[in-house]
Symmetry: C2
Subunit: 438 residues, 2 copies
């Protein structure tokens, strides 16, 4: 049945993802061959240390430190080393030597994706990267292919498992941020250096990739507005729960249209926000990921699953491998990654959103009127107000005002908050959170 | 930028889906051309009545009753007429005249898919059908491509919006089955003849398509075990809610392995079952659809969205159209649809599942022991038992036993129920439901 010559597959890296990819490639060799119509031969695995002890046992003769020799003698190269260099040089070498490349390297794609896609395009090779966003969840292929005839208006996702784990523990078990982070670290949901996750860098890299695909526009990671979860307190999480919300770190890529001119632009941003407990994203617990997509014709779609993990990520890598290998066998188009639309990217101040802010105010007549006047002067309209006398003994004589706004420009909302903070009657701005989802 | 010749697209049918497909095709012409690298020209729309008044206004000169002339002069044919004939003959004509075909016709695919894929394969044409299952939700492409390197073990979906709407109203608003169906009918969630939906035929057609793809095996619709929702009562729905479950009509395709020999087989079935309210499928409300997939490496994935609607379904049709058109422009593999594995399909008696049954029993000593002995004799092990004195005045002197079992063979479970029903101390078997999901 198999007529095509064997395809040589080079693997760069044998860490969490690489070792599982190699294992599955060897264990499922027959099934993969029948999917592809050719045998996939694991030609070698480039690592730094060929004699390191590894969790997954693989044939010792596969390991090599000579990545370049492996790359130039392979049909398909899978890059699972991570980091910018030498990953970038290796990928360029693979593409220019005519190999198709598969990578899970979101950091590299977010920084240098345009350059790499350009090179791939020039030489007629393909660069596959499904595993780079939300690991096992098929999200890039559906965006690129299934929704290719639709217009995507919004992509909103929980794309970082570590921060979702922390926020979910705070919400469901009442852990403090520190306790939740300690558990996340212990269970391997958080890296020893948590900065990339907690500060939202990882999510920003992913939203760069999602926005570029969804809007056919090159979105530099520097253009992504980024806020992490470091400032989210247990008090905010509790108050959100009481009000029927949950706080999630959201990565949002959105198409905007000027109401007067119709001119389109896009926004890409990452921040913790309130979403209703009725929203499908609210049920994404622990380290899971989910991406919510709104398209003009398809309406709302959600894609849910494991957003990390060696074997889970390897599933997405192998899906790309089968696509790449089928292309070798049958020839054909592969992945078109052209930034046709090239929409402008707007700063966060230009987006429209809703706010919820919690103020500690003097418990005296006229305070609400003063606050309301400030809101009105910025054309921010109020949806809900809840005023409660403070139970805090240190803050006796004060009351708490929780104000939920209607949709307004982010710039107006943030100016409103600044002005409110300077009012004499406002003793403290205790919390400011955006509200996302309907 | 566009170098390739225009591609001629024939549309068969201008009903709910067809008219929206035509509209989007015309309105998004420029964007589609830039996705594809060629202009897509709507060559004509075949209907029965060219002068019918239609909701969506389209250029009158596009309508024709001469479907055959349209088909044989087109590069890509989109079949959105529905029904078996003449849809089947038209699709065969299109394929044999070298056109690629896109269809949303689940009834036709479930009955004659094998024959159509065989013909497509022989002539080297492609048959795309993403819209046939769960409308707007990209599910077939992810199964076929993204998970091509993984092993799918289970696909469990809510794939019929009408029945989900009815069950959801019963659960959330306490409507009786009749009232819920009346609302569904009024709001267009249910057809005038509800049999296809309510009796599970529509879901059975879809599980046929899902199982064939997931397991690379031809699954005749006649081999699908099918139970509809006609027998589900409000009382059952209420009791389920109290116990932390919700009743959903589930379409399940599952890979089974003989514990002794390891020989694999598959089961495809449709029935109303209890799932935990913690399960992601439990939050699928109204007419929405969702498909839950369990794969060896990827773990659990869920795909959620609109499972019906003209414009939503048109989104999936256009996604297929872009794939088909790209293939024309660049040449290439398209969709491989080969039943390589051809696993045997087992009857429902061979599957393993859990049961919850509710018995009305005589309120006297020793009854529980009698019941437990019957269970043990069938090797069915009990997970939970709740006994309550009956509050029903007609049934005074009786008690209600709600028994949840551990996993056991379906055949043993159903034999157990039959034997229990014949026990003197059991006055009535009030409810028997399977429990799915963990
Ligand atoms: N882990 C996840 O859950 C996950 C999820 C999605 C995406 N990703 C992405 O997948 C990629 C791999 O992640 P990972 O977690 O598998 O990484 P990892 O466990 O740190 O493994 C990295 C591997 O690359 C090898 N390597 C590093 N530098 C090298 C060099 N200069 N030359 C040769 N080999 C080199 C290492 O070799 P030695 O073993 O000899 O040191 C190691 O085997 C990253 O881009 C990551 O962002 C990971
Ligand atoms: N509606 C949904 O939400 C949905 C979702 C998923 C899949 N689907 C599938 O999509 C397909 C189309 O569904 P639909 O709801 O759009 O159907 P529909 O509203 O009943 O429209 C059928 C169209 O086909 C035309 N037609 C029927 N028989 C014909 C014949 N012999 N020759 C020429 N034209 C003929 C009709 O022409 P006239 O207008 O002149 O009568 C009509 O325009 C079906 O296979 C359905 O199962 C539908």
């Amino acid at each position: 049945m198999i007529e095509y010559r064997n395809l040589r597959v080079a693997l760069l890296g044998a860490g969490s993802v690489g070792s599982q990819t190699a294992r599955l490639l060897l264990e499922h060799a027959d099934e993969l061959a029948s999917r592809v119509g050719a045998k996939l031969e694991l030609a070698g695995i480039a690592v730094r240390n060929t004699s390191a002890k590894r969790d997954v046992e693989l044939p010792a003769e596969l390991y090599t430190t000579d990545a370049e020799a492996l790359i130039t003698s392979s049909d398909i190269v899978i890059e699972l080393m991570g980091g910018i260099e030498p990953a970038k040089s290796y990928i360029i070498q693979a593409l220019t030597s005519g190999a198709d490349v598969i990578t899970a390297n979101k950091a590299l794609l977010a920084e240098h994706g345009d350059e790499l896609f350009e090179i791939a395009d020039q030489v007629g090779a393909q660069l596959y990267y499904e595993a780079s966003v939300a690991a096992a969840i098929p999200i890039l292929r559906p965006l690129r292919e299934s929704l290719a005839g639709d217009r995507i208006n919004r992509v909103m996702g929980i794309v970082n498992g570590s921060t979702n784990y922390i926020l979910d523990r705070m919400d469901r078990f009442g852990d403090s941020a520190e306790d939740a982070a300690a558990v996340a670290l212990e269970l391997g949901f958080l890296e020893a250096d948590p900065t990339l996750d907690v500060e939202g860098y990882d999510a920003a890299q992913k939203v760069t990739i999602l926005a570029s695909l969804a809007f056919h526009t090159s979105v530099p990671v520097a253009s992504v507005h980024r806020e992490g979860i470091a400032s989210v307190t247990l008090e905010q999480v509790r108050a959100a729960r009481e009000a029927g919300y949950v706080i999630k770190l959201l990565a949002i890529a959105e198409r905007l249209a000027d109401p007067d001119t119709g001119v389109e632009s896009i926004s890409a941003r990452v921040y913790p926000a309130l979403i209703s407990r009725q929203h499908p994203l609210a049920t994404v617990h622990e380290g899971k990921n989910a991406v919510f997509v709104e398209a003009e014709a398809a309406g709302s779609l959600m894609f849910y699953g494991a957003g990390a993990g060696g074997v889970e990520t390897a599933s997405a890598v192998l899906g790309d491998l089968v696509s790449a290998a089928r292309r070798h066998v049958a020839g054909g188009p592969g992945v078109a990654q052209k930034a046709h639309a090239s929409l402008p990217i707007v700063p966060v101040g230009s987006i429209e959103t809703r706010y919820q802010f919690t103020l500690e105010v003097a418990d005296e007549p006229g305070v609400l009127a003063t606050v309301a006047t400030v809101l009105a002067s910025h054309r921010v309209s109020v949806e809900t107000v809840i005023q409660t006398a403070s139970t805090d003994t240190e803050a006796s004589g004060t009351a708490t005002l929780v104000i939920g706004t209607h949709t307004a420009r982010e710039a107006s909302l943030s100016a409103t908050v600044t002005e409110l903070a300077n009012l004499g009657v406002v003793t403290a701005v205790k919390s400011v959170l955006r509200i996302e989802g309907i």
